[in-house]
């Protein structure tokens, strides 16, 4: 609780007889003003400035340095930052220690790049930078650190982007290291933030793979939904849901795009992969996901798959747009129903936003010539008003129900 809040609010509590003046003093003493961390920040900022000045001195004279001096400079800063990291970790300052180890990992990649630059070496494949990803995965394991794992995801994304854009080839080794190495770490030590970062990183790899192999963009959803299915199997429900957020967002945006632009057959034509191969692969992933949901008792999230319905096989034009809208409505409705059952206010908000989003798309897309526009606007307005009334009523009921047993009812979901 903030000291400022207490100081401002507590006199009223005393006046209203909630607490005594002595209790107020005790509370104020319990939550002292937090000026101390700001003082601790000063040496850190100071050393950052000194480091920056050293960096600019080196950068300004880089061209004049002989290759051996450059090599020595890079290696000594590499070893120095790792040694510092190990030192602070042994002293018990794990945050600073891991931060320095992370800096060492970044310096390793910088060293590879700058040394190849110094010797004007050309890299023809990913092997030079692959060592960077390998080092990242190994360090994440050695220090059991989720921060280093997240950093490695970023490094993997950078390496893969370079490979596909500059070298014109996809590095399967990088993708496999991220999915296998860091995926296993995530499986054993689930964590909310790492789940989302790793999942988004894997989707980035999948997107680059689709781009470099000139495949139809719908193939992207096969690896994306494999990531989703992994979230179903993850024993930690929170981490699993966090890993599923990026694939779901991608699928939702795709469905939204289909509803908005699906009317032109040319766009839908870009999306149609060979029917049997695509549907077969999708069905296999669906089976994997359903098995996971069943195993962990999460079948309530099955309507997520509505977004993956391959509506783009329908003939383009109005049928496709309407079918996609129906799917969007059904999905938003399923989110709302699930939120009501669980009494989850955040999910309720999300469901409402999804519902309003689908309505907006319908509002802009389905103003046909034969339907009088004013009638459509009237319908849309009535629909939104009705929805808001319904949700407010449900919300009040849910909150009242959740308020009675107290917050202890929440974790059981």
């Amino acid at each position: 609780m903030s000291h400022k809040f207490l100081r401002i609010e507590s006199p009223a509590w005393v006046a209203e007889g909630l607490i005594t003046e002595a209790q107020r003093q005790l509370l104020l003493a319990r939550y002292p003003p937090d000026a101390v961390p700001a003082v601790g920040l000063l040496p850190l900022l100071g050393s950052l400035l000194v480091a920056l000045s050293a960096l600019s001195v080196v950068a300004a004279n880089w061209a004049a340095l002989p290759p051996v001096a450059r090599l020595a400079l890079l290696l000594s800063s590499l070893v120095g930052s790792y040694a510092g990291g190990h030192y602070f970790m042994q002293r018990g300052n794990r945050t600073l220690g891991r931060g320095l180890v992370g800096l060492g990992l970044v310096l390793f990649g910088v060293s590879i790049i700058l040394v190849s630059q110094t010797y004007q070496l050309v890299g023809y494949d990913a092997s030079g930078l692959l060592a960077w990803v390998v080092a990242g995965v190994a360090l994440a394991y050695a220090h059991r650190s989720r921060m280093l794992a997240a950093l490695t995801v970023l490094i993997g994304a950078a390496v893969q982007t370079y490979c596909t854009q500059a070298l014109g080839s996809f590095s399967y080794a990088t993708a496999a290291l991220l999915a296998g190495g860091l995926g296993y770490l995530w499986w054993r030590r689930p964590d909310g933030l790492l789940s989302t970062v790793l999942s988004a990183g894997l989707l980035w790899q999948a997107a680059l793979w689709v781009g470099v192999s000139h495949a139809k963009i719908t193939w992207f959803f096969i690896p994306a939904m494999v990531v989703y299915a992994a979230g179903d199997w993850q024993p930690d429900r929170h981490a699993g849901r966090n890993a599923q957020a990026p694939p779901l967002i991608a699928a939702y945006l795709f469905a939204l795009g289909l509803a908005l632009f699906g009317e032109t057959d040319a766009y839908a034509g870009l999306l149609r992969p060979p029917v049997l191969a695509y549907l077969g692969a999708l069905a296999a992933v669906l089976a994997l996901s359903v098995a996971g949901k069943k195993q962990r008792g999460r079948l309530d999230t099955l309507p997520d798959w509505l977004l993956l319905l391959p509506g783009f096989y329908l003939p383009g034009g109005l049928p496709l747009a309407i079918a996609t809208l129906v799917v969007l409505y059904a999905h938003a409705g399923s989110v709302l129903v699930r939120a009501h059952r669980a009494g989850d206010a955040d999910q309720l908000t999300l469901g409402t936003v999804l519902f309003v989003g689908a309505t907006m798309v319908a509002y802009f897309k389905l103003t046909w010539a034969f339907l009088d526009k004013s009638l459509f606007f009237l319908l849309g307005g009535v629909l939104l008003l009705g929805l808001s009334w319904y949700l407010r009523r449900r919300n009040a009921r849910v909150l009242a129900a959740a308020g009675a047993p107290g917050p202890a009812a929440k974790p059981t979901e």
């Binding site: 061209a63 004049a64 023809y124 060592a131």
Partner: protein, 180 residues
């Protein structure tokens, strides 16, 4: 909070050794990259490529110049591959007069690595443009990091350059020297 932190068991001993081994491996790897540079100079085939600097005025703000190679544009007829070339494809360029003081010329652009006879060398590159009559190529040698003592820093007038390249037996290439 402090007693809780103390109660957490320290990482087992093998994990104390592992981070050190990892640091050692990284240092060796960086040294290996530098070693590949020296080895390419010592063991590689020498090739001279004709080039012109794109814009020397950029040297005031950056420490590299872009080089435009004569072999960056080749006639489409020199393409040797089962399929038509496409952009970003990686290719092998067979060069004549390796080891000679004269600038090398292109004998052919291959999709798969060709065998180089005596006096020939294979330089790897990428297709940047496919035109009806010509192919645009990139070799990864376009960015030349100019040492402080280089002649390129003396004037801003772009003159033809001789770029000495070494191509290692394992395929890596590097610029050894740039002269006028």
């Amino acid at each position: 909070m402090a007693p809780v932190a103390a109660a957490v068991p320290e990482a087992p001993p093998r994990f104390k050794l592992l981070p050190r081994l990892l640091v050692g491996a990284q240092v060796l790897y960086v040294l290996g990259v530098a070693g590949a540079g020296y080895a390419t100079t010592a063991l590689g085939k020498a090739v001279v490529l004709a080039a012109t600097p794109a814009d020397l005025t950029t040297l005031k703000t950056t420490d590299f110049v872009r080089l435009r190679y004569a072999v960056a544009t080749v006639p489409r007829a020199q393409w040797q591959g089962p399929e038509a070339p496409h952009t970003r494809q990686s290719v092998y360029v067979l060069l004549a007069s390796a080891g000679a003081p004269a600038a090398a010329t292109v004998l052919g652009v291959y999709a798969a690595e060709p065998r180089a006879a005596a006096g020939q060398a294979v330089l790897r590159g990428w297709v940047t443009d496919v035109f009806p009559r010509t192919l645009g190529l990139r070799y990864g040698l376009e960015r030349y990091y100019v040492p402080a003592a280089s002649v390129l820093r003396k004037s801003t007038v772009a003159r033809p350059l001789r770029v000495q390249v070494r191509i290692a037996p394992w395929g890596q290439a590097r610029i050894v020297e740039v002269s006028e």
